[in-house]
């Protein structure tokens, strides 16, 4: 069942990113839904699930990208792994932590992407890339991640039965 869920997520997410996300682009910046999904999988399901989902999503993303390198295939599982490891010792998964983690991982992903591009081809200036792509995309990713995090939490709360020891 879990495998089917991941398969459906991968099959839907990348086409969604390619076809529809252009409609919600702000100043020509689109959120990286695969990155957000991998981070959330890492936070909720652990590093192994996030790693495998990251491989599949990164690969699918690279298939549709104009870039020649398999940068997403390498990056997404690493981001999932970091998200999974970061959530391992958490007592409480708060929205602030999820927001901050997705923001940081998106900045990290953007910086690595910039370095890969600069290394393999004609590179733009880092300042322009940071101002034009890395930081706006990180903020957008974090906001989308936060919205999805809240939705997931609400969904989980409605499914979890209230116990007698519950403080809430």
């Amino acid at each position: 069942m879990k495998v089917l869920g991941y398969a459906a997520l991968i099959l839907l997410l990348v086409p969604l990113q390619v076809v529809l996300v252009d409609r919600i682009s702000l100043f020509d910046i689109r959120p990286d839904l695969a990155l957000v999904a991998v981070c959330l999988i890492g936070l909720y399901r652990g590093e192994m699930d996030a790693l495998l989902a990251g491989i599949a999503m990164g690969f699918a993303q690279d298939l549709f990208s104009g870039g020649g390198q398999w940068s997403n295939l390498c990056l997404k599982p690493i981001l999932g792994l970091i998200a999974g490891l970061a959530s391992r010792n958490l007592v409480n998964l708060t929205w602030l932590f999820a927001f901050g983690l997705i923001l940081c991982l998106s900045v990290l992903s953007g910086t690595v992407m910039y370095l890969l591009k600069a290394y393999t081809g004609p590179g733009a200036s880092f300042f322009l890339a940071a101002r034009g792509i890395i930081l706006p995309q990180a903020c957008y990713d974090a906001l989308v991640g936060l919205a999805l995090f809240k939705l997931l939490q609400r969904g989980r709360a409605s499914r979890t039965p209230q116990s007698a020891l519950s403080y809430e």
Binding site: V19, D22, F64, G66, G68, K117, A124, S125, L128
Partner: protein, 298 residues
């Protein structure tokens, strides 16, 4: 004291008297009846006041009722008309969209008919999933005869080249992407260079000869030397020339003729070398009249 019986008797007498008077009046000749109008006219005048008031009230009621009934009818009619307007607006929008699409497709078909190379028309179905590359996803692929490095054009000019071709779709790297490079030619001066994308989403032509007489407003076209483009496809217009000290070449910024953000249909040139010559300007752009660089040093 008058007894009750006597009152009843008095009443009866009055009644009888009145009946008698009424009968007498009826029996009177018509000319005599006229005399009754002496009392009748003032009385009619008095009665006419409340009559007029009542008539006015009746009119008001009538008008109000009619208006209410009409309003009910109008409301229904209004609702029906609003629905009709909404339907017409929807249809209008659809027809406008169809008209715009028809114009676009007509231009594309015209270009396809005029281009002396085999081309495949394709629809843009998506954009790059990352913010790092400027590319399009088109709905034709290897099964339609497409392959990597084929040139992609629109009625406005060259837009990019295929970098990945799958069975049913292909990825087109746009000319304004930093990683794209096609050979270009300044149409007026015939200077050749490499056209690449810039960080700002424009394009630039690099490696122009230092003594080139290129100027702002010159048209840049594909040179046809390498890549999937034949010679002479419009790329853009030079907007800025950069002459740097101690550099062996010139470079110039180009404003692409095609608006890369609004591409919906494209033509993929599947064999750019089948015919050597382009017909006279099959593209929608109108290049400036060529000026001969008479006597200018090169």
């Amino acid at each position: 004291m008058i007894s009750l019986q006597s009152i009843a008797g008095g009443k009866r007498a009055v009644l009888l008297l009145l009946v008698f008077l009424a009968v007498a009046l009826l029996l009177l000749p018509e000319s005599r009846q006229e005399s009754l109008m002496v009392i009748g006219r003032p009385m009619a005048a008095v009665i006419a006041v409340p009559l007029r008031v009542m008539e006015a009230a009746n009119q008001k009621i009538d008008t109000t009722v009619n208006r209410y009934l009409a309003l009910q009818q109008w409301r229904e009619e209004n609702r029906a008309l609003r629905q009709h307007i909404a339907h017409l607006q929807e249809e209008n929008a659809r027809l406008r969209e169809t008209a715009v699409a028809a114009t676009r497709l007509h231009d594309l078909l015209e270009l396809q008919e005029q281009l002396p190379y085999p081309t495949v028309a394709a629809q843009v179905i998506g954009r790059d999933p990352t913010n790092w590359y400027r590319s399009l996803v088109i709905n034709k692929g290897r099964k339609n005869g497409l392959a990597a490095d084929m040139g992609v054009v629109t009625p406005a000019g060259a837009v990019g080249r295929i970098v990945k071709a799958y069975d049913r779709f292909a990825i087109v790297l746009l000319l304004n992407d930093l990683n794209n490079a096609v050979t270009g030619l300044v149409q007026r001066t015939r200077d050749e260079g490499i056209v690449e994308g810039t960080e700002k989403g424009l394009a630039q032509i690099k490696y122009l000869p230092l003594l080139s007489t290129v100027k702002v407003g010159d048209q840049v076209v594909t040179s046809g030397l390498a890549g999937g483009f034949p010679r002479g496809l419009p790329i853009g217009t030079i907007t800025k020339i950069e002459r740097r000290e101690a550099e062996l070449f010139l470079s110039a910024e180009i404003a692409p003729d095609a608006d890369f953000t609004k591409i919906e249909e494209v033509l993929v040139i599947t064999a750019p070398r089948e015919s050597a010559q382009l017909p006279a300007n099959p593209f929608s752009f109108q290049p400036a009249a060529p000026v001969k660089p008479a006597g200018e040093p090169r």
